[in-house]
Amino acid sequence: MKTFFSLGLIRGIVSQLIVTAIGMGITVAVRVAMGLPAWKAEPAAVVGALLGAIGFMFGVGALTDWLKWMKGEETPMRHGPPKDKPAWTRYFTVDYNHKIIGVQYTVTGIALIGIAGSLAMIFRLELSAPGLQFLTADTYNTFMSAHGIVMIGGILLGVAGAMNYLVPLMIGASDMAFPRLNAFGFWVTVPAALLIVSGMVFGGWDTGWTGYPPLSARAPLGIQLFFLGVYFIGLSSILGALNLLVTVARMRAPGMTLFRMPIFVWASVATSLIALTATQLIALSFLMVLVQRLLGMGFFDPNLTPEAVAMGAPPGNPLLFQHLFWFYSHPAVYVFILPGLGIISELLPVFARKPLFGYKWIAMSSLTIALVGFLVWAHHMFTAGMEEYLRLPFSYTTLLVAVPTGVKFFSWVATLWKGRISLETPMLFVLGAISVFLIGGLTGPPNGTVTTDLQLHDTYWIVGHFHATMFGGFVFPFFAAIYYWYPKVTGRMFSETLGKLHFWLMTPSFWVMSLVQQQIGLMGMRRRIADYDPALGIQAQQVAITIAGYIIFASVLVMIYNLVYSYRHGKIAVANPWNSRSPEFQIPSPIPEHSYEQPFLVTGEPYDYGLEGSVYISIKPDIANAPVAAK
């Protein structure tokens, strides 16, 4: 019990609850002092939630060292598990080791994906027949909206988990550049997730994850908690990206030139460039709606109050929100998929026993996608009513994304070509990822030409398209990565049989789900509707989507069982179960507290599988006698 209450997580939550109550109390006091009625739910909730999240960060201890610095106290770096507590408690407490933080991010990410997936299971059941069965229109809208944003949060955490764990290991850094900032970045996502989930309970909201005003300006109270939650997750994303870019720029091992970095590091850099520079825009757009509701600042409100008209204020513009929102939220999909595509490129050579085809082209294609991705946002607005002359330039930039994406696909199949391929579970998921991302990629260009998009926009075709890009670009590669690096994290092997079962349940089901979603979209099924017209004749397809969705959900439960069971009962893992050349596989499993005993030296190319006598790194180099270029 004492251990339980000493956990940072528990202290954080208790502190969040207390400070939320204090924040609400302050709001009441201010209102009374202003002569207003004491209680109004929305200001109290917003002030309480905002202060409560900060309270969590104090309670969990993510600010402790910085506060000590202010007082001029020393804060020596802590290493290893806590001395007086069980080792597992580190995962529930502020810890500065990037490997711990990576696991914290990953597990929290999976938990959020699980919550979001469960919501989908509820409304998919509802959608398996026309009419409203057991949900109301309001609960459907809340679940659908929360499914979207909780998934996005889960994906961002999963991405951060993979990058945090892997990048320092791959470049031979002892840790991330700013370990305390790293811990802060993880822990701030916890109150954020609590806010979003509590938003579902306190009123819910009915706008989808996109939160377009004027609808979001008049949505129930839950939307304010959703806005604040996204705000804090965005903060985490920005800080994590900053940390990663500095780490890669400054902390590479001797000899690790940019074009000798593992390809996943390139993908992480591209992703971080987007996250560092674009996330502010979604935070801004949500913040503006938040204060429009709270303080009456009519940024996006076309209907002015008589007082505002009398003052000569110009009306607000709902389209402005969409521009700000999509300026982040389109590049955001590249934040989700670029690391996944990096994992595909990383694993293919290992299981094909062959160099990665066109390493530099793949690295550059990631950067190109990231940069072009900044110029395509308005393709979400072809029907929105923006200036008509803007549609064509955005159509061209959107179609251009197909070029670097094509380079990746062609390079992947060329990597497989004439390889010696084995099909362990991670490789199966990589191949599944390519096939699923192919569906997502190929269904993109019809949305890029305006003419066809006028039919496709806001239909289930789009739902099918982006679920395929998210599964192919994130979910499948993320699962591949989990299986691939599981032995390095836990020191145990997972069950191949269960891994393969997971794959063979999930992949065909996903194909069915996505393709059928696209077909009913073409037939007239709209997005985000709680009920559909039986006259569309899509009843059988709806049932098929629901069944496929449930099989996918069940297959993920198989994975979770596999990971949990194998943690205790799996076979002891060797250091390098896949015969990988990557640095992290040259040290014991599980990876020791200080990953490398001394900095390694990069002496060769990362993916020279099949080149006699070549090595990528020498793990115990004689640095003093190394070639000058490598120092």
């Binding site: 229109a137 009306p315 085809f357 004439k418 390889g419 192919l438 003419t451 099949g610």
Partner: protein, 339 residues
């Protein structure tokens, strides 16, 4: 090497043909009912051809490699050692670049096709609100809840919203345009096939978004004339009708009944059945009698006195949309529901 490549090339051809055959034989669109739709379907068909080819190309190369270049797990065999091929990389950068630029060009040309004004356009004003559609025909002064259109004549839809963003979409017409509050947006459709369709709101607009649907009828030119004439004479007859009758018609076409039921059943707003003269508890706890003055305020300034338990979602624009007489007619209709 030659052998493997040849095998793959043949397989890519076969799989492309098979994929295309499959895609052409499953329904990928509802019936096409507009001239714009013909253009859209043509371009979409072209996309499908490219999709089928690229799908076959990547899948065949991948699956062929997986089946033919196989290794037992744990075996230390290695694949053929090659790093890349710059000419090949350039080819598969340039070829897709040309393809997408060509598609961009086709997209531009077809967009011009489907947005250019037609001759002798019929103008229809479309108004969306939570969760109802209203169509006004400036030519004839008609107002309707059904979008009735003549075949073969380009219709210029002038669209606006009273509250949140909605989106005009008739799947059979293949075009879509959002309706924004405060501004008017234009969409052109040229119906080509007489029949009955449905207008479906495509942008999430709150609780009853799924049910924001309106009937659409495309009629032959003569049938459309007949419809206009009958509606005009009905409207004339209605003008001499008692106020409560006129109010009933107004309540239907203005979409009031989408939220306020006339039979006591629950809705997004208070039911009108038995409302007149009742004591109403407001959201701030005070009470008010539902007399003429209150009902008028509730119509022109709905946010002023919100009834307890109902959301403040009614558009505040009816003061501009309705004349004094029309408001009086609607109140007369509400009154008549007490009897």
């Amino acid at each position: 090497m030659k052998n493997h490549l040849l095998n793959v090339v043949v397989l890519v051809g076969i799989v492309t043909a098979a994929t295309l055959a499959l895609l052409k034989n499953i329904p990928l669109a509802p019936v096409q009912a507009s001239a714009e739709g013909a253009v859209t379907d043509w371009l979409f068909g072209l996309h499908i051809n490219v999709i089928a080819f690229l799908f076959a190309l990547i899948m065949v190369f991948m699956l062929y490699s997986v089946f033919v270049f196989r290794r037992e797990p744990g075996s230390l065999e290695t694949g053929e050692y090659f790093h890349g091929n710059t000419p090949l990389e350039i080819v598969w950068t340039i070829a897709p670049l040309i393809t997408v630029l060509y598609f961009g060009y086709l997209g531009a040309v077809t967009l011009k096709d489907i947005t250019s004004p037609g001759q002798n356009e019929l103008v229809v004003n479309v108004t969306g609100s939570q969760w109802a559609w209203k169509f006004e025909y400036p030519d004839s002064g008609l107002t309707s809840n059904t979008l009735v259109l003549p075949v073969g004549r380009t219709v210029k839809l002038e669209m606006t919203s009273l509250d949140v963003i909605h989106s005009f979409w008739v799947p059979e017409f293949r075009v879509k345009q959002d309706l924004l509050p405060g501004v008017t947006k234009t969409l052109r459709v040229t119906p080509t096939l007489p029949g009955e369709y449905k207008l479906r709101c495509a942008e999430i607009c709150g609780r009853d978004h799924a049910y924001m649907v309106a009937p659409v009828q495309v009629l032959s030119a003569s049938a459309y004339e007949a419809w206009v004439n009958s509606q005009v004479s009905e409207a004339q007859a209605a003008e001499s009708a008692p106020p409560a009758e006129r109010g009933k018609t107004l309540a239907q076409v203005q979409g009031c009944l989408a939220c306020h039921s006339a039979d006591g059943s629950p809705g997004n707003g208070p039911t009108w059945a038995g409302l007149y003269g009742e004591e109403i508890t407001l959201a701030d706890g005070t009470t008010v009698t539902a007399d003429d003055a209150y009902l008028k305020t509730a119509i022109v300034d709905p946010g002023a006195q919100i009834a307890e338990g109902f959301p403040n979602i009614m558009p505040p624009t009816y003061g501009d949309v309705l004349s004094e007489e029309q408001i009086a007619d609607i109140i007369a209709y509400i009154k008549s529901l007490n009897e």
